[in-house]
């Protein structure tokens, strides 16, 4: 076969373009997770939580959270019907090993699992002097631990007490909503192990996510709505005494 100079000039770039697309097309090199397609939050159903502590233990395992520090924890409220401004709240070791047995009395009991609210308009990201904490395009508030100075401004700024300074790394640490699992199509570790379905990961940008139907048909609240943080952890059956 004889190829003219003109044909060669057309063929060479065409082959180069073809080869480029072959190299780029391997699935390992091009994961199909697109950040702008998601906006993550979570639904917590208070009426389903049994205070078993599975979420707290799973989070510590999945994310190597040091002992005595928590990315998620469970609180037990004990509230009288006369004065809901003075609830008795316990969280022994974050609820990691469950709670002491409660005897029925004239007050009510319930459990409240807590974690970073992944606020759309968060005070914690606004106070960082070096741009080490931010909300990613898929709605997850993250810490760049290589950039963090450990000044703890964000720890003070979080209205929900969801951040801490890592005792060894000396930088801010917090819930990543298991970002490393989300990109692989998995749910968070806490949602994966919740035996009653009290915690459910929600993608607010996915029109087929059951969260939309749930929000339409239930009375759902976020924590401290007066702070206008744009919190994305939605609580069903949340009692007014919860702070």
């Amino acid at each position: 076969m004889k190829i003219s100079r003109r044909q060669m000039l057309i063929l060479l770039p065409a082959a180069a373009v073809a080869w480029e697309s072959v190299m780029a097309g391997t699935p390992e090199d091009a994961p199909n997770y697109k950040m702008t397609d998601h906006w993550w939050g979570m639904l917590i159903d208070i009426s389903k939580c049994i205070g078993c502590g599975n979420c707290v233990r799973a989070c510590q395992t999945e994310n190597d959270v040091p002992d005595g520090f928590f990315r998620t924890w469970v609180e037990r409220y004990h509230v009288s019907d006369e004065d809901m401004t003075e609830p008795e709240v316990i969280s022994p070791d974050g609820g990691k090993e469950g709670f002491p047995v409660a005897q029925q009395d004239d007050k009510k009991y319930f459990f409240v699992p807590k974690l970073c609210n992944h606020c759309a308009d968060s005070p914690c990201t606004q106070v960082c002097p070096v741009g080490a904490t931010f909300i990613s395009p898929d709605g997850v508030v993250l810490v760049d631990q290589k950039y963090c100075l450990g000044c703890a401004y964000c720890v003070q700024a979080c209205p929900y007490g969801c951040r801490y300074i890592h005792p060894e790394k000396k930088v801010a640490d917090k819930c990543t909503l298991c970002k490393h699992r989300l990109v692989k199509g998995l749910t968070t570790a806490c949602c994966e192990v919740c035996p009653t379905g009290a915690r459910q990961l929600a993608d607010l940008k996915d029109p087929n996510d059951p969260i939309h139907a749930f929000l339409k048909t239930h009375s759902v609240q976020v924590l401290k709505p007066q702070m206008a943080t744009g919190a994305k952890i939605f609580y069903n059956d949340l009692d007014g005494s919860v702070r």
Partner: protein, 172 residues
């Protein structure tokens, strides 16, 4: 020209200023990470670094690809919505070991026999975590008083954990 007659010192100062600005630009070019500002006022590459963490809980879909027999048993029982690792613990290490595909955390693939056959949880401890009666738990949730209900007998003597109703056949 007479306007600039005595202005030489101003030009020297301006030159110094321009020089300092150039030095600032050069230093900035090397000090600010490439991905800073990619999505916002932060280092874009940090997102990928966080996302690259190895997974420890494999997820029930992964378990079910091999253990479909147990998944089928669980599907018809009251524990249908309790995922495998809620009781069995984090088992991505086991998956990687069995599949021989541990590219993320090569250290986990070591000759650890527990990765071959993970230890079964002790039902007397495990079941009590959720099912010990307490006034704080939702009323509809099945609860028992350990002292009067089984007196130390392992739960799986009567209940199969994957389908825990007594009529489901108990332990197998």
């Amino acid at each position: 020209m007479s306007v600039f007659k005595d202005a030489g010192h101003l030009f020297r100062f301006a030159g110094l200023f321009v020089l300092a600005f150039l030095v600032f630009l050069v230093v900035r070019h090397y000090v600010v990470p490439k991905s800073f500002g990619q999505y916002g006022h932060y280092r874009g590459a940090a997102i990928d670094e966080i996302a690259a963490r190895p997974v420890k809980f494999a997820g029930h879909e992964t378990c079910e690809t091999c253990h479909s027999d147990e998944a089928d048993k669980k599907k018809i029982g009251k524990h249908a919505h309790v995922n495998c690792e809620a009781c069995h613990g984090a088992l991505a290490g086991h998956v990687n070991h069995m599949m021989g595909t541990d590219s993320q955390a090569p250290t986990q693939v070591a000759d650890d026999p527990s990765l071959e056959k993970p230890v079964l949880p002790d039902t007397a401890v495990l079941c009590a975590r959720c099912h010990t009666a307490s006034a704080a738990k939702p009323k509809g949730f099945p609860q028992v008083d350990p002292a009067s209900h089984y007196q130390g007998t392992p739960c799986n003597t009567c209940h199969h954990p994957h389908s825990p109703g007594i009529d489901a056949g108990g332990a197998k």
